[in-house]
Symmetry: C2
Subunit: 78 residues, 2 copies
């Protein structure tokens, strides 16, 4: 029998700056670009799905300043 | 006793177009913008971390054409 232990990890985050909303779906979930500090670390850009009132978060990705600049270049060259 | 069932789901994907690489870390993992078809569905833009040779994928986010355009506007206005 395979034992499985799930460890609930508390993630502290602070949305320091809301930069923009890319979309909002029928249930009010938004896809946003924010500047977020995770667990008190230096803030990073963050592209992620959020429940209304930011009660829950969905999958997403963090981006450093350099990565955001690279993404901007890629998008403008498309 | 809380029963936990983990269901291994097979995800089929095809990287139809590699659009650009935002960064590469010391272990060779890359953060990329691609156009990917998931489970045979219509391709979507996809911002995600990949292991070298795309053997494994990490967390990421899919973007519709409209969301990508909105992101481009947000980045150019920053």
């Amino acid at each position: 029998m395979r034992r499985q232990i799930s460890i609930a990890k508390e993630i502290k985050y602070e949305i320091e700056t809301h930069i923009g909303t890319l979309s909002t779906n029928a249930k009010g979930w938004t896809k946003e670009l924010n500047l977020i500090s995770w667990n008190g670390q230096a803030p990073k850009f963050d592209l992620r799905v959020w429940a209304p009132d930011h009660e829950k978060m969905g999958k997403g990705i963090t981006l450093t300043n350099e990565e955001l600049a690279a993404l901007k270049d890629i998008l403008t060259s498309m």
